[in-house]
Amino acid sequence: MKKVTDFHVVEVQHLSHDTFIIVLQGTEPVIAVLPGQFAEVEVPGSPEVFLRRPLSVHGCDPVAGTISFYVKVVGKGTARMSELLPGEKVSVIYPLGNHFTILEEGRVLLVGGGTGVAPMLMLANKLKKAGAEPVMIIGGRSAADIHISDAYHAVAEMHVTTEDGSLGVKGRVTDHPLLKEEFNFNRIYTCGPDPMMKALSAIAREKGVVCEASLENTMACGFGACLCCVVKTTDGHKCVCTEGPVFDTTYLENW
């Protein structure tokens, strides 16, 4: 059951000059969100922003009545969001889209690049609770891009790659030994830049495992009403907002 409802800003935690976590408090009971689902978030008080912005749910705590997003400033909407003050009202439509499959056993690999980290903590949590053994690789350009708290280490075996080698393995996530000689997983879950996800999809195909990727797209509604957000699949155009954002990559054309 999706709904559109008001939240109030609790805080904006700045992780770096361009990345922040925004925590919102619901005015109504908060619905449990599954890992990979997203929300359409209003950007209040910005004359230049017309539409809502789609954001993966980073954290969701129905008991505390909070929901959080892990956001990178890339334009006017995300810039405005980063300046929101505690108490400001933000309308949110959620939960939207499908979610990552929660396996109940086996070693599984979670790979987040950039803001693709957003759904990963929640996903690792669920997987671990279900009985699987999550291993996570977080990739960035440099150490400044990597924001891993203790919460990550508590639920997954953590690995890091940075392109400049300032933290973890030097190179891209696909350069990590876990994706080469040490590959030993039942499934890959990924969210991040398309080229990264495509490379992971290729590795998964080679290794004969399923790769679930969370796609981005330009969205006007987020709940299947506009048909703006299509991706080409082996079965024609599909809406990323309703049939995704998570896709088994074998289903995607040219992946």
Binding site: M1, K2, K3, V4, E42, E48, V49, F50, L51, R52, S91, I93, N217, T218, M219, A220, C221, G222, F223, G224, A225, C226, L227, C228, C229, V230, V231, K232, G236, H237
Partner: protein
Amino acid sequence: MADLKIDIGGLLLKNPVMTASGTFGYGPEFDDFINVSDLGGIVVKGTTLEHREGNKYPRMAETPAGMLNSVGLQNKGVDYFAKHIYPAISHYDTHILVNVSGSRVEDYVKVCEVLNELEGIPGIELNISCPNVKEGGMAFGTSCPSAREVTKAVRAVYHKHLMVKLSPNVTSIAEIAKVVEDEGADSLSLINTLLGIAINAETRRPVLSTITGGLSGPAIKPIALRMVWQVANAVKIPIVGMGGIMNATDAIEFILAGASAIQVGTANFLDPTVTIKILRGIEEYLDRHNVATVKELVGAMECC
């Protein structure tokens, strides 16, 4: 409490709030948010003879107080609609109109023949104004002879309510409206989207895969109001107005300009409950102004 019922050329709406084609899916997309049956009517996505994949990604661009889309009539074709979608939505206690689109007159006619047979579909909205398809579409709605041809052909085979949706991308929308009225349309809806472009200055590329797309949202409201007013002064059949309606005040403006009912489009994306808010707001306005029926307000703008 004010009487919200309104007759648009033989089709009796329980209230003047309808949804615009392509912005409301088929209805079920909104079941979580509102009671679809509360609406005066819904117009489903543009339907063509054959299945269509629509245009390539990207299909959407945000613009100042609006958006461009180039969805390009993605739909599974009229037969699929009749067999699979129609049964799933016919329970709604509201008028379901099908937006009919095509590239050739024969196609329009064939689609209408299929829809004629669907008991629960009391009318169609003939889309002669879609800017997002290569052939046909908008071309039909931008010249009098072609608007005449397609309306005549459809009227000959379609026996229920025929609403024709006009294109704003013309020098004189009133002239096209008159031609369409002549050929027997029961009502007119306007406006469809205005042709526009968005460019990404950094990449130096158009934002949309199709370069041009259709502009909708509050940005176009003044143009839409003007066209509704011009057409209302030119024809006798009822008008369904749309273009940038975001709230009840906007809706009232369209009614004052001459629209008997309104359609809500892009606003559904920003707030999926907006139609119901508009409905309540119209009611509140009528009561506050002691207007007994919506009908009294139609075209009631005082000009001089």
